[in-house]
């Protein structure tokens, strides 16, 4: 479905991502793990055309030269960014409906999708009229994922969905992601919390200093002593705090 070859992301003289290649099959979940500053977020930004890049990105066999979030959204690629980028002064329901804005413009009915998101996140339904800015961190993350789902993504990209959340909330978010995967949504999760990400994912990619340090099935990475020591051993400090 998605094939990335030799992707580099540059901020001025600084090269945050260097020649990263990977691919994603339909319905698969890929975890990109690595320490802070490894280039995980830059990788997503480059993928979406939010930063200057070199290399090839192909979706369904078609090479995407000039990428923009709007363009990729039309092709079913939706990002849940770090920091969530919600609309804090608008209600929960308005945030969700705006997630389906492009489909709304095409005259599609958003109500079934709204019902589906409320089914996945009953908490959001309870707070539908509340301003997004007044939600707790976990609820905001739910809202960010819910808003992305309103666009009916084929490929959902998530940047640090567990960041700053309590362990219970992290489990809740990942339970929903697993359910989405079960429905056939392809997932790319960028995560410092390697444990939860590898539990969800089929395959994993370890990024270090902007390069792919390790790649393999989630199972292999689980058993790799280096990963265990560097990332899984730190699980108490990372992301779950």
């Amino acid at each position: 479905m998605l094939r990335v070859e030799g992707l580099s992301v540059r901020y001025g003289p600084l090269e945050a991502v260097r020649g990263v290649s990977f691919h994603l099959r339909e319905g698969e979940a890929l975890a990109v793990i690595g320490p802070n500053g490894a280039g995980k977020t830059s990788l997503l930004r480059g993928l979406l055309g939010l930063a200057r890049t070199e290399g090839r990105v192909a979706l369904d066999g078609e090479v995407l030269v000039r990428r923009s979030p709007e363009d990729l959204l039309r092709r079913g690629l939706v990002l849940v960014p770090e920091g969530r980028a919600l609309f804090p002064g608008l209600s929960v329901e308005d945030n969700l409906r705006l997630g389906g804005f492009l489909r709304f413009r095409k005259g599609e009915d958003l109500r079934p999708d709204l019902a589906r998101v409320y089914g996945l996140f009953p908490r959001l339904k309870e707070r539908r009229g509340q301003l997004a800015g007044t939600l707790s961190g976990g609820e905001q993350q739910m809202l960010a994922i819910g808003r992305a789902l309103m666009a009916r993504p084929r490929l959902l990209l998530l940047d640090e969905p567990s960041l700053g959340l309590a362990p219970l909330m992290v489990r809740e978010i990942y339970r929903i992601l697993a359910a989405l995967k079960g429905e056939g949504v392809t997932l790319l999760v960028v995560e410092q919390n390697a444990k939860v990400a590898l539990e969800l994912a089929d395959r994993g990619l370890v990024l270090e200093a902007g390069e792919v340090a390790l790649e393999g099935s989630a199972k292999e990475l689980w058993q790799n002593p280096k990963v265990v020591e560097a990332y899984l051993g730190l699980k108490r400090e990372v992301g779950e705090g």
């Binding site: 959204l73 960014p81 919600l86 609309f87 804090p88 002064g89 608008l90 705006l98 804005f101």
Partner: protein, 325 residues
């Protein structure tokens, strides 16, 4: 001061205040969506009645050429399929002006649409390419355009003042003309329409969303460029209609926009360039303040109005947080 004079002053303040209010709302909207402080809104306002006067006299106003020139640049910037919008708009506008030379009532529509087209083109040509620039660069551009458009107003329409015929003649009571009632009704309807647009339509919410989070807007497919054009379009529409309705009451001339825009700006600042209702109430305050000072200390009228800025800015500075650009 007796009750009659008090009534006059209140009516006068209300009539001017609602127009400042609409301009203030337009400025808050444009600032929220694009970070542009729309200083030339007064010039957009001024173009409407003066273009109307020219059309009613059977002359083609220079503003049309300005609009067409900007439209061509816009089409050039848009390239490809995006160029059709401005080109068709320019064609439609020219056709409308041609018809308006013979069919007088069309002149009103033509004058307003001209201002809307000019406003949107101004955004697309001058501000959209600067979208990553700082608020200061955008402000410098806005002030430059204000000076340029005012100068062009002088070139197109000369230094004379004009008083177009009011749409409704006569007075309801002494001191309140039917045209004044029309201004008040228009302001009320505009506020209701804007409220409805932002409260109930998803397009309106998308515009608010673009103002709240740029990244969020891009990720949900709300184009910042389109949001900017819509915000400028709404602002120009309010300015153009205000100009047409106000001109029979206060005379139209190339310099009329400056003071109106500046007072709208004072009101917008009272609302912190962020709150629509506070901006509107601030505008009413400016209107009343102005009418009362013109009675008690007419020589200092304008100075006292702008003095209002000092406590407003002082208050804003007290509650200001660090702003990220």
């Amino acid at each position: 001061m007796d009750a009659t004079i008090l009534g006059f002053l209140l009516l006068d303040g209300l009539q001017n205040g609602v127009i400042y209010g609409l301009l203030a709302i337009a400025m808050v909207l444009v600032f929220a969506v694009t970070r542009v402080i729309l200083v030339p809104i007064g010039e957009l306002l001024m173009f409407a009645p003066l273009s109307l006067v020219w059309l009613l006299e059977g002359k083609v106003p220079g503003t049309l050429w300005l609009a067409l020139a900007l439209g061509l640049v816009w089409a050039g910037l848009a390239r490809g399929r995006g160029a059709w919008g401005p080109l068709l708009g320019a064609l439609g506008l020219s056709a409308l002006f041609f018809l308006a030379l013979f069919l007088k009532p069309l002149a009103y529509v033509a004058a307003v649409l001209l201002v809307v087209y000019l406003g949107v083109a101004t955004y697309r040509v001058f501000f959209q390419p600067l979208r990553e620039a700082t608020v200061l660069s955008l402000l410098i551009m806005a002030v430059g355009l204000h000076v340029a458009y005012q100068g062009l107003g002088l070139v197109f329409f000369g230094p004379e003042q004009f008083r177009p015929e009011p749409l409704l003649k006569g007075e309801v009571v002494v001191g309140l003309s039917w045209q004044g009632v029309l201004v008040l009704l228009f302001a009320l309807l505009s506020v209701l329409a804007l409220y409805g647009f932002f409260r109930f339509s998803l397009y309106g919410k998308a515009l608010l969303a673009a103002a709240e989070s740029r990244l969020g807007a891009r990720l949900t497919g709300i184009s910042p460029e389109e949001a900017g054009m819509v915000a400028f379009g709404i602002a120009s529409l309010l300015a153009g209609l205000s100009g047409l309705l106000l001109a029979p009451l206060i005379n139209a001339a190339y310099f009329m926009g400056f003071m109106l825009g500046l007072k709208g700006f004072v009101a917008a600042i009272l609302g912190g360039l962020a709150s629509y209702p506070v901006a509107f109430l601030g505008a009413l305050l400016v209107g009343f303040f102005e009418s009362f000072t013109s009675f008690f200390a007419s020589a200092y009228k304008e100075a006292l109005v702008f003095l209002l800025l000092v406590p407003a800015l002082f208050y804003q500075s007290l509650r200001a947080r660090a702003v990220e650009e």
